[in-house]
Amino acid sequence: MRVRTLEIDGQMMTGAPGESIFNVAWNNGIHIPRMCHLGGLTDVGACRLCLVEVEGQSRLLPSCMTPVREGMVVRTNTPALQKHRKLIVELLLAERNHVCAVCVANGACELQDLATSLGVDHVRVRYRHPQCEVDLSHPRFGLDHNRCILCSRCVRVCDEVEGAHNWDIGHRGTNARVISDFGTAWGDSESCTSCGKCVQVCPTGALFSKGASVGEMRKDRSFLKYIVTAREKHQWIR
């Protein structure tokens, strides 16, 4: 296997053929911001937060979806990128109803943490305040579309790791929603195994365990690494 050598933020790095810029950067300590990426799941480039500048390219590229090439020169944290990322987070916050003060994930939310780390102190675009549903039909879990950012981690973990494929994304544009089975109530799902993986990978308070009150929902993603290591390396190690 011939490795690819490239430059990221002035440092020389190597990656395997087909490996993403995002992975190579993270493996070398450059933590490009992300929301839809989760180690162990297939990348989809849904959130656009990991956009980077690649020399010779006129547009920005999602680093999670762009494989490394020999001689590439990549910049991950320029003032222009910081500006774009800040606006992306503001758009995510304005798109639905992210009311941190009454959210189950307050204080343990990846969107909230990202907003803080990117220096978002207020949202410059107008809030849309859409009417969103809350599905509490499942006996153990809840789905609050007000908090969903359509990262599709739940869709992928259910399909790729649990193998149930209960979740999908239905409808278009601002009407897009995570749907259970063919758009029926979660509690009526025939494919859901009630494993709870979707709840644990959800970055916000959109998916939660019932009984969690404001700021009480804590997610545990360690199971994913355990399962993926077992599957890929046949090592059942914690």
Binding site: N97, Y127, C132
Partner: protein, 172 residues
């Protein structure tokens, strides 16, 4: 020697007064603060007209026409305007009603979709509650629901000392 005190105002708009309660949680530190500031206008001070001030903390979002007129008046008379708490910054709880048409909100609460909107007794509600920065320039954002007493002191203390203000360590 007498030093010139900083003229401070606090304002309560579309919020629950929780931010003001948190301000009072400064407890004995309020005495130290009182030595440095003159509280010119506040729900806890007796003043009818909003005076010219150096710093204003505004709690709550803009929920009615009176708020909108008031915030413009305040902006014109204050040097530093601080969005005080999540309602002032994002709309927060007060703005949850925005996803429901105003008439539905009023008829649900009062049985009349135009309740209070016509008699000239209550301030007329805006169609949507909005954060302060949608109407006026905001100089600093103090997040939290409510912001803790320490955070309030951190920001106000820095302003009084003429020190650079630390960015917030949290959104929401």
């Amino acid at each position: 020697m007498d030093t010139v005190k900083t003229r401070l105002a606090t304002v309560w708009m579309g919020g629950c007064s929780g931010c003001h309660m948190s301000f009072l949680d400064l407890d004995e530190t309020l005495l130290e603060l009182a030595a440095k500031v003159e509280l010119c206008y506040s729900p806890i001070a007796d003043a009818k007209e909003f005076p010219e001030v150096d710093v204003t903390l505004v709690e709550g979002c803009l929920a009615n026409r009176e708020h909108l007129a008031e915030i413009r008046h305040i902006r014109a008379r204050t040097k530093i305007l601080i969005a005080f708490g999540d309602c002032a910054i994002t709309g927060n709880i007060t703005a949850i009603r925005n996803s429901v048409p105003l008439g539905v909100v009023l008829s649900t609460a009062y049985g009349d979709p135009r309740f209070g909107q016509t008699q000239g007794v209550l301030p007329v509600l805006l169609d949507e509650a909005m954060p302060l920065h949608e109407a006026v320039k905001v100089d600093y954002y103090l997040p939290g629901c409510p912001p803790s007493a320490e955070k309030i002191l951190d920001l106000v203390g820095s302003l009084l000392a003429g020190e650079p203000v630390n960015g917030s360590k949290r959104f929401g």
